[in-house]
């Protein structure tokens, strides 16, 4: 079983690529909703990394971390989307470049 399995480094490279795609999404997209989705992408890349290390060490603590990451992600999405709805109500846009209420 252990010899045929893809090595840990393959999972690490995949996680790095997915994380980078998420970073690109946050940096180059202007729609707040897509930025949220890119953040989910990054969280998932980290989750993959956690689970791969967990498998490697034979310890389930990584699974517990993924569990907590999912709980935090659920809370973050609920609050974030509520903020998004509130912004959309006031400004009729979800473009982050058009939201500059704090700029003097």
């Amino acid at each position: 079983m252990t010899t045929t399995m893809p090595p840990l480094v393959a999972y690490q490279i995949l996680a790095a690529i997915l994380f980078t795609i998420g970073v690109v999404g946050v940096l180059v997209r202007r729609s707040a909703l897509i930025i949220f989705m890119s953040i989910e992408l990054m969280l998932n890349a980290v989750n993959l990394s956690f689970v791969a290390f967990s498998r490697q060490h034979g310890s389930m603590d990584g699974h517990i971390f993924v569990f907590f990451v999912m709980a935090v992600a659920a809370a973050e999405v609920a609050i974030g989307l509520a903020i998004l709805v509130a912004i959309f109500r006031n400004k009729e846009t979800a473009n982050v470049d058009d939201v500059h209420l704090l700029k003097g």
Binding site: I13, T20, L33, V66, F68, M70, A74
Partner: protein, 171 residues
């Protein structure tokens, strides 16, 4: 062998769907492609003997969180932006910084771990119930009991916050 083929399939699906999430014009398609990424990752979790996490991934992420996204998409009725990417120099900087992040992450992943006798090169033997709900539940309610209870407070705060934010009219 079969594991490697499955890994390649899921990895390729995840990367292609992720690129679609970032570069597709229509936000609804982006959300559906994100579901593709989440399902591919759940397949990878099963390859890594994490059955419980794989099930959570499908139920919580692909189920609950993505429904929330699609709900907001439906409520707000986003028009399709003609220019999906940020204009000007910011876009170039974004790609440059992303490439730097990728190089750094790959460098970290590919560096051998300091000659510690190959601690990460050998795969540890797994207990029979590795990754099962029972085994995870056991350590979740013993070793990680306090973080688990604090998580419930976090979710309560999130529920209250979401309701307050959605109700209030800002001036």
């Amino acid at each position: 062998m079969i594991e490697s083929i499955l890994f390649a399939f899921f990895a390729l699906t995840a990367i292609l769907c992720a690129l679609g999430v970032v570069f597709h014009k229509n936000p609804v398609h982006c959300a559906l492609l994100l579901v593709g990424v989440l399902l591919a990752l759940s397949g990878l979790f099963i390859l890594l003997n994490a059955q419980f996490i794989a099930a959570l991934q499908v139920i919580v992420y692909a189920g609950a969180i993505m429904v929330l996204f699609l709900f907001v998409l439906m409520l707000l009725n986003f028009r399709q932006d003609p220019s999906v990417l940020t204009p000007g120099a910011a876009k170039g900087f974004g790609f440059v910084f992303a490439v730097l992040v990728l190089v750094e992450l790959l460098w970290t992943a590919l560096t051998p771990n300091g000659g510690e006798g190959g601690g990460l090169q050998t795969v540890s033997a797994l207990p029979a119930d590795f990754g099962s709900p029972a085994a995870i539940g056991r350590i979740l309610y013993t070793t990680w009991l306090y973080p688990f209870e604090i998580t419930s407070i976090l979710l309560l705060v999130a529920v209250i916050g979401a309701v307050v934010l959605a109700k209030r009219k800002f001036a």
